[in-house]
Amino acid sequence: MIFGIDYAISLFLILLAVILPISYGYILKFIIFLIALIFDIFAFSSRYYSYLVGPIFKSHSKNIILSNEDAYWLSASADCILKKVNDKFIATVYILIPIYVSSTEMDDEHKLEFSEKVSRAIGITKDPARFTTEVLIMNKDEYILELKDAIAQAENEIAQINLNKNPDKSRLDHYKGKSAMLRNLLDSMTKVTSYEEISYVTISAMGFKEYEAVAEAQQKARELISGLSTIFGVPISVITGNELLKFVEPEYLIPYTTMTAQMNKDLESKVI
């Protein structure tokens, strides 16, 4: 469409430059010709960049806005994410493959067998599917926050005890010890970053209604699950709810509190 418009404008301007009487001067003909060449370049670039044409004309700054909407939303059944493309809905299902084996516990025969299983799994479906192995930072956010709360509580107790004229020494020692222990625990938690590895498959389906796309994606997922279960011999399931965010949002790859605790630790080690 955009190619056609640009191409027609280019052709029209060239013809205009030809038929324009010489009385208008060669400079005008030349300028029209130059504009025709620019439209010729636009016509070719529309092969790759037609998605930018509309937003470029609409934007009034150096930031071209392709979309102000969220990249996706969760389906009502909470087992797939949805995206609207033109007038169609695309539902995408994430399927977890729980494989917990290491090459260190395999002999050569098992290693070969495992690689063959992976190779077979990749070719299992005719529909486009994406097989992913993800290494992410283990989410210790909840545990770190619990530790921080416990430390604050212990320190609060110490402050309360110290307010007394005759503080209970044994209680004071108890809370000081508890605080020190929790701090050490927090230190060791943030000192080392722990990773986890997850394998999953993604498959998409299209529908003119939201429920159509979801039902189609669920059907494709069921077929894929039965094939993958046979190959790997493990219970394979669809990922649902908040768990999906681990595979979609970058901040779930590097959890916030875990990361800030790590950053603080790095900063402390540089400063102190």
Binding site: K29, L37, S119, T202, I254
Partner: protein
């Protein structure tokens, strides 16, 4: 390798230049004629370069003009077009992509089966060594599309016949050893692929890529960390015989969209990736 659609675009836009050249006498005279010729040459050059390496021109342009792109709410593609940035609670998350088309899928076909098996047996250990050596999050994606068995077989047989014709021409024409060896290698690969299909394996097309994310307290810090992570990935995965190129420009945007919806047909997918595969 240029796809058919791009070839049509290229041919049609070059036709405009040919028409211009034919009519140039009626458009300009004297100095304007020379200038028009010069601009026609520049236009042909730009179109030619774009047909081969459009991402270099595009990223160069956005870098110079400082243009950023917002692909969705909360996300931004930087001006170098090599990372997608998300700001969450004043922390910047930068995500970048690297192609990782496993060349062994080509090479293994010309190797004897025992070597192939050896490679397959080594791969779990190689993978674990890579995971252990990389101290940051990353994702390895294999996007696969099942192909029609019969048409793939017919296509491969057609290519083999063409290579055999080339080989007979090379042998008759006393071509040098390198050319002959190269054609023989191509024939071996094609024959091996045909044999694999004959054994009952389904033919598939794959797009493989690696995604990594870094975090920083400023945009620049996140981008710097991302570049260093990508370099580490390129070093670590080199043991897998993979071609590791950082993805930039429009293909970065397509990769970003992959996280939320996949292409539904082989045509959709191949239209997106034709240059940087």
């Amino acid at each position: 390798m240029m796809d058919d659609t791009t070839l049509i675009y290229l041919a049609l836009t070059l036709v405009i230049l040919l028409i211009s050249f034919a009519l140039l006498g009626s458009i300009a005279k004297g100095i304007y004629y020379d200038l028009a010729l010069l601009f026609m040459f520049i236009t042909a050059l730009i179109i030619g370069v774009m047909s081969q390496i459009d991402y270099v021109l595009f990223t160069g342009l956005t870098s110079i003009l400082g243009i950023t792109i917002k692909p969705a709410n909360n996300y931004m593609i930087n001006k170098k077009q090599d990372a997608i940035i998300k700001n969450v609670n004043s922390l910047y998350y930068a995500t970048g992509y690297v192609t990782a088309n496993l060349f062994p899928y080509t090479f293994k076909n010309e190797n004897p089966p025992e070597d192939d098996e050896e490679r397959m047996a080594q791969s779990p250990e190689l993978w674990e060594n890579i995971v252990k050596s990389l101290g940051f999050p990353f994702k390895f994606h294999v996007f696969s599309i099942g192909l029609n068995t019969q048409s793939t077989r017919d296509e491969l047989e057609g290519k083999r016949s063409y290579q055999e014709y080339q080989l007979s021409k090379a042998l008759q024409g006393n071509s040098n050893e390198t050319v002959i060896t190269n054609i023989q290698r191509q024939i071996r690969i094609l024959q091996s692929k045909i044999d694999t299909i004959s054994k009952g394996e389904k033919p598939i097309a794959t797009i493989m890529y690696i995604e990594t994310t870094s975090v920083g307290i400023s945009e620049q810090e996140a981008l710097d960390k991302l570049s260093s992570q990508i370099s580490s990935i390129q070093i670590a995965f080199s043991s897998f015989d993979v071609e590791l190129k950082r993805i930039v420009g429009r293909e970065l945007y397509e990769m970003f969209k992959f996280n939320f919806s996949l292409p539904l047909t082989i045509k959709d997918a191949s239209d997106l990736f034709d240059q940087q595969q």
